[in-house]
Symmetry: C2
Subunit: 464 residues, 2 copies
């Protein structure tokens, strides 16, 4: 399975079964996602057309000349068994089964049909992503095998988001575009015919060098132990974070209808996730913020934080947020404090949290303060807060210029660069995410993500 | 004071003392905020120039012909006493004192100077906003009396945000531009010479018809009882929400340096705020989300919520979030359930939370479902979740078209319309915020804001 998944996620050729020229068919949107973006061979399959999306189309999979690595299937449920047989005969490496109407529907026929396709898949050793999925996007290799072409706009990076729900992928994918969360993969597993969390987890850890952090959205699993065992055996190799839904009774019953699994008792999940070295988060934004921070930053060696703020208020709310999150303000060494005092006049608070306001006009001094606290052996990480004001207009640019030449920070720096749209977007967009700085929207979210970095560092070491 | 503040916030003429043509002076940026935007008379004052920002400038306030309602002062601290005397002699109605260097600095001279200006202000009955403030923006009357011209980009609406910190105003003001939070006022009170929270609160409730909700950011007050008494006497007239910082010991000491007040014990604050009918929130985004929801929505009569989602996953996490927030899923009446069953095929969950996915292609059906649950007497509010997908492309437009002709919803509707940037921005931007629908970025934040609407409804009635 693991070998086949490599070809499924980075296929040399893709056939779209149910490809279409009409906007109201999912096969249209899958073609839109692939055509003009994907650099391998695309074979649209539809017995009723000659050309689809300006490509030669084929009446059947059999009629396609040469190898097909991946098929994307968007035909009615009743046609799926025959389609899978055709895939097996053709020797395709794997399928994305977008079609819904299997065990997630009320009608018992759905369950029976799902059993049937599971058996066919087993017969040919065919990995199936889905059914009841929007597909997947592999940003690392430029493959958007989904019905949502806009996901190709997500930046390429180290976050793999694997979800039981397509809706959550859409929520997170669009937030990722807006908040510049750089992804390697975005995937909904749907009903998980035979490609489930453990299979994807193993693939991402062992075979996918572009993925640095794995974020999972889970509703309910038939056999949670398989996932937990997989996570345990992979422990310490790549951070895994989970957002687990279905906490309430009603949520649980919704899960049954959604992708056919009960969500289960949350207290048991909580303990089990921790024992497997997985960090549990409790919201969509926390999932994305934490993944972004892990993708960009070093993990902290402890809980002692420096808060550097250009305005006292944001520094104060960050300081407030530290303790409930399990972090604390560091006490600078005398040498560090002297360096800061040399850089800042005595009209603002210079101990931690540092009010850098008086240095705004000179980005060099701001960077010198940042360097001083990173060098301080009593500090494990930095919360850096800059609200735009006329006086600090050049700060973002100065920071990015400095980072270009500098080595990546060896301690995590989580920063807010908050400005009206259009003012700092360009320099901040040019900040290399491998330099050790993650940008988040508010001081509170910066602190929360920093706390999670510490927890990840802790859990990965098996100390959880 | 209350009468004078009306003229301060909507002045017929403004003098800028310390107006400048050089970018690195605050007086330059104040002129930038006013020139070309403000429709009253502007008098730049600077003894060294003839023209500033292409306007005739004056050597002194005395030299200005006619009445001056508001002065904005951006001169060095030592020059402030004489400047205030000049203001008093000229009969100006009030001053924005941007200058810093008063009781917030370590040097004892700052405290002495602040006592002096307080006395001068008292002598003339001159309201002073500041010192140590970025100024204020009155979006209702088009006055940006601050050094941050970009705040004029905030939409005009019903949220008044009054902050002890200019940095928090910058954070919130920029988030407001991005997230379309429509404001009436944005103001930092700085050291609160003689215009403090109680004065502004009274003004906003009694004299400012454009303000529908008052959001306060407080660090610490010398006399918190004055604020609490003011809030109590105004109780039930306009919702007041507070984000209180300085919870930690360190935060408290930062407050001392920031605007010269100790933050005080948080447990005492917590109880006192509730007794005064004020809702306490615990983060920047919660402050803004809640204010936006209050500005747009009716208050709910209870805790029973309908969750309408186009994709099961987001509906599930919203359902999960209800209970911890003090809300619950409503049980639809039989008539409502029949109406929904007529509109949705039995391939998705149709009881609460409702999976509206199968109706995506027809916005009319979606709106019919929304209307059905609003009409249901067992439902107090609606969480409406739509993640863009090709199938529901026209939903946002359909919704906005419908709302144009419809009466405002009489129950609160908090919605997510999540799409890649550019796809739904235009229709969603055209949604009239007075129609009873607030748009927030994630299901969890929608639920949190709904819970706060219920708390506000509860607190305003004196049941807190």
């Amino acid at each position: 399975m693991n070998e086949k998944l490599v070809q499924v996620f980075s296929p040399g050729s893709i056939a779209v079964i149910g490809a279409s020229n009409s906007f109201d068919k999912l096969g249209y949107h899958v073609m839109k996602s692939l055509a003009g973006n994907y650099h391998g061979k695309i074979f649209p399959i539809n017995p009723k057309s000659d050309r689809i999306w300006n490509l030669a189309s084929y009446p059947s999979l059999e009629a396609v000349p040469g190898d097909v690595h991946l098929v994307v299937i968007a035909v009615p449920a009743r046609m799926v068994p025959d389609t899978l047989h055709a895939c097996g005969r053709k020797g395709v490496r794997g399928a994305v089964l977008i079609t819904a109407g299997f065990r997630e529907i009320e009608d018992d026929g759905g369950r029976v049909l799902e059993e049937e396709i599971k058996e066919i898949a087993g017969q040919y050793g065919l990995p199936i992503i889905g059914p009841n999925t929007f597909g997947f996007v592999n940003l690392s290799s430029g493959v958007n095998a989904s019905f949502t072409s806009e996901f190709s706009r997500i930046e390429r990076g180290g976050v793999a988001l694997i979800s039981q729900s397509g809706g959550i992928c859409h929520l997170c994918g669009f937030l990722a575009i807006e908040q510049r969360i750089a992804m390697s993969k975005l995937m909904s597993l749907g009903n998980r015919c035979n490609v489930d969390f453990p299979e994807v987890l193993t693939h991402l850890v062992e075979k996918d060098s572009s993925t640095r952090v794995i974020a999972l959205y889970i509703e309910g699993l038939d056999d949670p132990r398989r996932l937990l065992d997989a996570a345990k055996s992979l422990r310490g190799r790549k951070p895994i974070i989970v957002y687990k839904a279905g906490k309430s009774e009603k949520g649980d019953s919704a899960s049954r209808f959604h992708t056919g699994s009960l969500a289960g008792n949350h207290a048991i999940w909580k303990g089990a996730l921790r024992q497997a070295g997985i960090l549990e988060v409790t919201g969509t934004e926390e999932l994305l913020d934490t993944a972004k921070a892990i993708d960009s930053c070093s993990l902290p060696g402890g809980t002692r934080m420096a808060v550097l703020s250009g305005q006292a208020g944001p520094g104060m709310i960050a300081s407030d947020a530290l303790e409930p999150a399990g972090l604390k303000l560091s006490r600078f060494s005398e040498a560090t404090q002297r360096r800061i005092n040399d850089l800042l006049p005595p009209i603002a608070i210079r101990t931690n949290p540092v009010d850098m306001g008086p240095a705004w006009y000179d980005p060099k001094n701001i960077i010198a303060i940042l360097k001083a606290v990173i060098d301080d052996e009593h500090t494990d990480g930095v919360i850096f807060l800059a609200m735009y004001a006329s006086a600090n207009l050049n700060l973002a640019e100065g920071m990015v210029e400095y980072m270009k030449a500098a080595h990546p920070f060896q301690k995590p720096v989580i920063a807010c660069f908050t400005a009206p749209p259009g003012i700092w977007d360009e320099p901040i967009g040019a900040l290399d995410r491998k330099k050790g700085v993650a940008i988040l929207p508010t001081p509170e979210r910066a602190v929360q993500a920093m706390a999670n970095l510490w927890k990840v560092s802790f859990l990965s070491n098996g100390r959880g």
